[in-house]
Symmetry: C2
Subunit: 335 residues, 2 copies
Amino acid sequence: MSTIKEVASAAGCSTATVSRALATPDKVSEATRARVARAIAEVGYTPNGAARSLRRRESRTIVALLPDISNPFFSEIINGIEDVAHQAGYRVLIGDCERDPQRAGAYFDLLPANQADGMLLLTADVPRALLDDARRRGRFPLVMACEFFDDRDLPTVTVDNYRAACQAIDYLVALGHRRIATLTGPVHNPICRERERGVSDTLTAHGLAGGAQTLAGDFGVHSGYVQGLALLTPLHSRPTAIFCHSDEMAIGVIKAARQLGLEVPRDVSIIGFDNIRLSEYCDPELTTISQPRAQIGQAAMRLLLGLIHDEPVERQQVLETRLIVRQSTGQPEPR
Amino acid sequence: MSTIKEVASAAGCSTATVSRALATPDKVSEATRARVARAIAEVGYTPNGAARSLRRRESRTIVALLPDISNPFFSEIINGIEDVAHQAGYRVLIGDCERDPQRAGAYFDLLPANQADGMLLLTADVPRALLDDARRRGRFPLVMACEFFDDRDLPTVTVDNYRAACQAIDYLVALGHRRIATLTGPVHNPICRERERGVSDTLTAHGLAGGAQTLAGDFGVHSGYVQGLALLTPLHSRPTAIFCHSDEMAIGVIKAARQLGLEVPRDVSIIGFDNIRLSEYCDPELTTISQPRAQIGQAAMRLLLGLIHDEPVERQQVLETRLIVRQSTGQPEPR
DNA sequence: CCCGATGGTGTAATCGTTTACAATAATGAG
DNA sequence: CTCATTATTGTAAACGATTACACCATCGGG
């Protein structure tokens, strides 16, 4: 709790010199710098962050707003964000809004309040009005990652969800599947709609447009289980393959299948999305679409830094996904 | 980016009145309050957080320091923390130090820098010197949750790890198991040692002290897989049950068992720890020890608020665990 | 009619830094 | 030796809020 004044008097110089010794050491003589360093150690000084941000008009903090921190999909993205952020001297404030507009609002206020210099928005499930209002109250460097709003006018880092879905369906069709169902994320979610578009375009291209069943979950494992039961009954008219919009839901569907006495992939093929760590350790190991999560986080953070520093940036970045074939998919049994 | 001055002139009053209208509305007349409210909406004002914390000497922010944000075990604890924190008007800054002392140091500095009012430490895997140094530089309200340092002199919220381990072993012995192995977390981790003590005391009590194999992982699924292979080979002398210190490791062990041609629980029983969401959805569903995670978070945050406000608090809180029997455990086959 | 209490408001000091500007000393070129 | 330049330091004014203190009405009781 000691201040720069105490350091200054202990070092026998002015506060300006102490400040310079810390911020621009080369503008301070060798000898003074040493005295200041000793004084700092002596009195146990840490610069007051509030005073510093007030004066500098920056906080060197960015907010990353998530829909749900318990979704393992986000943790590696966070790692990517933090890597780049820390390297650049920024702190990351992780906000979990739990789909609660009030909580989200509190995080949006951080920017006009000068408590944060920018925001990484990892969800579109936030009242647009809240965001627009905050943006009207001042400078608001903002990057969306993974998700996006329909109008796509904001800087965004995503994967090519359309193509990923096409790839998944092409793969299943090549295996011989004809009845392919989809378990999407929340109905109003733009990335899910992109994927659905990919699915239906691809199915149509293969002449399989009719009767493709689609249900919606919430990305969580429980909804996968519940909707999995719904998709797989009655057994006689069940799909032979299910494309799930998240690995967690795929794991839920596998449990549903098992409970109905179906074996994966013999009786039904399951394909997930995200390639979460556990997808390799469930039974059977999950065929899934891998998103380059660390890279998404890194790219988004770099983009945000560019915006914060008013540098020219590439406002729309699309990264590649990769289909990872494991054991939850196979040829359908001839019926 | 407008300031209180602009609001004041728009409302035709002084900055003091604007400030009071926000902080202590009942000290301001009805009419003025309305004018201020209108002026705020008009100019789009958000109080500058840095100026506010500088003056108030508090940030209404607390840091929660985690060893690893990707561990799903922590997400529900965070939820508990945030519930209580937000209710009390505090923000939560989640810090992921990834076992990197430098990163951890940056978070410790937040308190002497007046950027945070308190810290929730969810890992003991942090250089003690770093912590002690930060605590010497000023007031440092700190609560440990889940983990703790050996000396236990800090306020702590934990579960009774010793008793939980005893319960697990008692249960396995009651099923008929005689060769019970343990897969612990990191070797130097105090909670793991507590659990090991519980294991060895209980085994001794049952006259099974000798030959109980113990290996260490890192709580992650991959280490469970690797150490699971080690514990289960050679097959002829393998344990009939394995007590794992985390569900993730248990899932890894199950994969190892499957790969070795063993069926769970027929050929080997597996018991986990934590009751993460996915433990109910893997195959077989995991027998595990449930920690009241939301409550841990809530209790820790409440304790921290007490410390911040210099209220009398109960410095050591121990919550109960619960053994949840599912399908990964059963009687050993007679050999 | 006077006095004290009360309610509402304004003035100005304060929180701890940073930094523009000024001042001084030291250096070197001419 | 002089003058311009550079290196080093200090002085003091911000940054934007909060709040102690003072001030002025207004009101009611005596």
